[in-house]
Amino acid sequence: MTHAMTPSRRGLLGGGGALAALGLLAHVPGVGAAQAADAAPRAGKLKVAFLGLDTADPHRHTGSIAVQQVYVETLTSIADDGTVKPFLATGWEISPDGKRYSFTIREGVRFHNGRLLTAGDIRANAMRVRDQVRGGWLSAPMKLVESLEAPDDRTFVMTMKEPYGPLLNLLSELWIVAPESDGWAQTVRTPIGTGPFRFGRWQPNVTFEAPAFADYWQPGLPHVEAVEFSLRDIDDLSLPLRAGDLHIARVGYDKLESVRADENLEVQFMKDTTWWFWSFNNRNPRSPFNDVRVRQAVAYMLDKPAFMRFVAGQAGVVTNQMAAPGQFFWDKAMHDADRHARPNHDRARALLQEAGVDPAKTPCRIVSWQNSYSEIAVEAMRNLGFQVEHLALDDIGAQRRLGQYDWDLAPFASGPRADIFLRFIRLMSDGPNVGLWGGTRDPEFDRLVHQAIAVVDLNERRRLYLAAWQRVLDNYYTVVIGHAPEPIVNRREVTGYAPGFTWGQHRVDGGLAFAKLTARS
């Protein structure tokens, strides 16, 4: 199987359909466009705000990829339709048994210290992640690595113990850092990458400034002199956008109306979706929430359409799956069979009666972040008659509390991911950060997902994923409410920028490197 500068079939079938249906596809500059870019001098400093930067070490990050992706790059890149595209690799070959991946490394790519990138650098990074980094998305595939080889400067070979379908997508998060970077042996403090911007001045939780890299391998890029990321935890970024203090930022759905009324601002959407769900405690469920009839009753109290209108307005869509409507791994028949597409309070109460549950005597502990949509869950449970205790916590507090598994219901949301497997892995027994999904332990679910990622045929993989998801539906591990793409707002003086499939702000054919400032704000 050979892939060289051609999108995969999966990608063609992937997110594109749904997003086209939503009318969200935006102009995406291509590599060719970059190469043909005019030789105009770089101008202006782009001021942006997405999510934070938790560490300077790209291999050890636990938070957002929005910031670091401007100074480090990867072998593969996720395109706007969810396809995998070549990035630092110009192409790859996969052996027929799906175990051996041979990558051709792009020529003429320089690190920020001027040294040329070689296959040996890729191997060194893969070895570092395999041997030194615990946790994170890459820990599962790295456990399956049999060998990492660099037979010459332009060839990197990765051999797996068993076929691993999501590997190419996941490699879009294996950031390549020069091994001579300060702190390589422990924690990288000053990463030397190959990105269009260099690692500049970083004040944690305040700001990060990345100056342009003059010898970037894509001619003419980046278009601006520097990018300044605001790392402050600001609740409403529409205000600095309107004031001209920021050029691009994420903005909540509740602010879209006022943003759209401002002629200086333009609203775009990310290409993959955020999805909202209610999880039950699956690892240590308390009575009566271990009874599937009670879980079903709770699901009948959910007013999915109203919920999605509340959290995302017109951008929200209701469904019962982790894939958004229209995406390849989404199933229409399963969607149409959703018994909870509309609320049914009478059925909910009847189910509780059938299960012999007196909600007035039953405590229900709800753990959530501090947000408004969790209050909808609280009200639904209160309407059903339960004695509700609501613990609304910050991110770390919620993670900690969820890990104690002394709760009953958890209403949460999760953002875009480079591959659908990164959603399925959250429901696997040994997945990372599984608390939000109730710490599911279902050997049959695990087996089906393992099988899915091991098959090469995409239709078979889809069938297995759907079989696994049917178990989630039948056992009410997690009840999906719906999806919506995250809004990203830019000032009109920014041109050439479009948000991508994930939070990453640099990809082979788009992102901050392609953004121009046509006027100074």
Partner: protein
């Protein structure tokens, strides 16, 4: 020593004044709302109607609906009880811990006083709101932790007032007389001194109450007070702030209530301070 306590009558002043009357009226009305309001307002303060979110005031919903379609008036009334209860509980706790510990330590002698007030001074070095924030992070959210955090945060303020009053009274002849008659320091404190400094403590309580209400609101605004759906004024402000452009009524109602009640306490507290301070006339 036995017999009736020696009580110095507080200074009598001329009429209560318009400000005091206004303050009493505000607080009286607030108390009535807190006690009877929830049974007089038909709407459920927790009931959501998401499709009617942020709708402006109308004939049925006098203060409109908030971002989750809840009746703002019903939440404001329910919030009055919650905010007042939290502030009252915290003030009582501050009185008990601050004045109680402070006075006992003073009565027991130099070293206990040094120890207790050393701790109080350390606590007092941190602004009350910052201390309350820190305590809430440690204790978790909810009404109990909230009252505890506010009470601890304001206890040192009550303690220093109690110490000043104690030292003033300790120099009085009636305290010396009680000690000569064989009364223990603690007995002298509770039987003779406390009745004479009650005015100063009540005045301080009246000053702390509005601060506790506003601090509760700030904590709730930061998500550290009561649970999000609980209609305290701070939670109402926090929830409605994001939608201030679409639904200004939802944020204005609790803000106005907070200002008016704080004003009421300030007017009453100021007058109490003038009326109940027995030494004020001497200083004049």
């Amino acid at each position: 020593m036995s017999g009736a306590a020696l009580v110095i009558a507080p200074t009598r002043r001329a009429g209560p004044g318009l400000g005091f009357m206004l303050g009493v009226a505000i607080l009286g009305l607030t108390l009535l709302v807190a006690v009877f309001g929830p049974s007089l307002v038909a709407a459920d303060p927790l009931m959501q109607q998401i499709t009617l979110r942020n709708t402006p005031p109308d004939a049925l919903h006098w203060l409109g609906r908030d971002h989750l379609g809840r009746d703002v008036l019903a939440r404001l009334v329910a919030g009055t009880r919650i905010s007042l209860a939290a502030a009252f509980g915290a003030t009582l706790l501050a009185l008990g811990v601050g004045a109680g510990l402070g006075l006992i330590a003073e009565a027991l002698g130099r070293w206990p006083a040094l120890l207790v007030f050393g701790v109080f001074d350390m606590v007092r070095a941190m602004p009350s709101i910052l201390l309350a924030l820190t305590l809430m992070v440690a204790l978790g959210i909810g009404m109990g932790p909230l009252v505890l955090a506010l009470g601890i945060a304001f206890a040192p303020h009550m303690a220093v007032v109690a110490r000043a009053a104690w030292r003033r009274e300790a120099a009085s002849g009636y305290v010396a007389a009680a000690r000569v008659m064989g009364a223990s320091p603690v007995a002298t404190l509770f039987r003779h001194v406390v009745p004479n400094i009650a005015g100063a403590l009540v005045t301080q309580a009246a000053i702390i109450m509005p601060r506790a209400i506003t601090t509760e609101s700030v904590l709730s605004f930061f998500g550290l007070g009561v649970a999000p759906e609980t209609p305290s004024w701070g939670r109402m402000i926090a929830g409605a702030t994001r939608f201030a452009e679409a639904a200004p009524h939802a944020v204005a109602a609790p803000v106005v209530a907070l200002c008016v009640v704080t004003l009421g306490f300030a007017l009453v507290g100021d007058r109490l301070r003038l009326a109940l301070d027995p030494l004020r006339e001497q200083r004049r």
